[in-house]
Symmetry: C2
């Protein structure tokens, strides 16, 4: 089963990369109020049961993919 | 209007960060067939018309957010 994990800096956590992107976008003439930068991980994982796969992905996030102190994560399972 | 831009390494492009994540997940005992790492940018942008906002985001991607030679991008406009 395919899944995408989205990892974002939590609200209130400084995001220097996002600030740099925001400033560059403005310099290019775009009317941007805010930009925040996170990362995504596309995972192909053994298993067909969505609930089981989601639990595994949550454990991956807690153990490796995200830093729960400063980052939030969102799990999207591919349909089909 | 809020939007999220997802940027991923194109198929066939080496992704050392993804390989490292894949290998670490396996060492942690997860049955992962593949992992690819990309990034995401959450943008708050002036404008209410989805078509106009999408065109602006495409220009942002071409000019700054993605490297079209080696990366593909996907634009998700927030509903409402």
């Amino acid at each position: 089963m395919r899944a995408t994990v989205l990892v974002r800096p939590k609200h209130g956590i400084l995001d220097p990369q996002g600030e740099a992107v925001e400033s560059s976008l403005r310099q290019l003439g775009f009317a941007v109020a805010e930009a925040r930068v996170g990362r995504l991980v596309d995972v192909e994982i053994d298993g067909d049961d969505p609930a089981t796969v989601r639990r595994q992905l949550e454990r991956m996030c807690e153990q490796l993919l995200a830093n729960p102190l400063i980052e939030s994560y969102e799990i999207e399972l591919a349909a089909g």
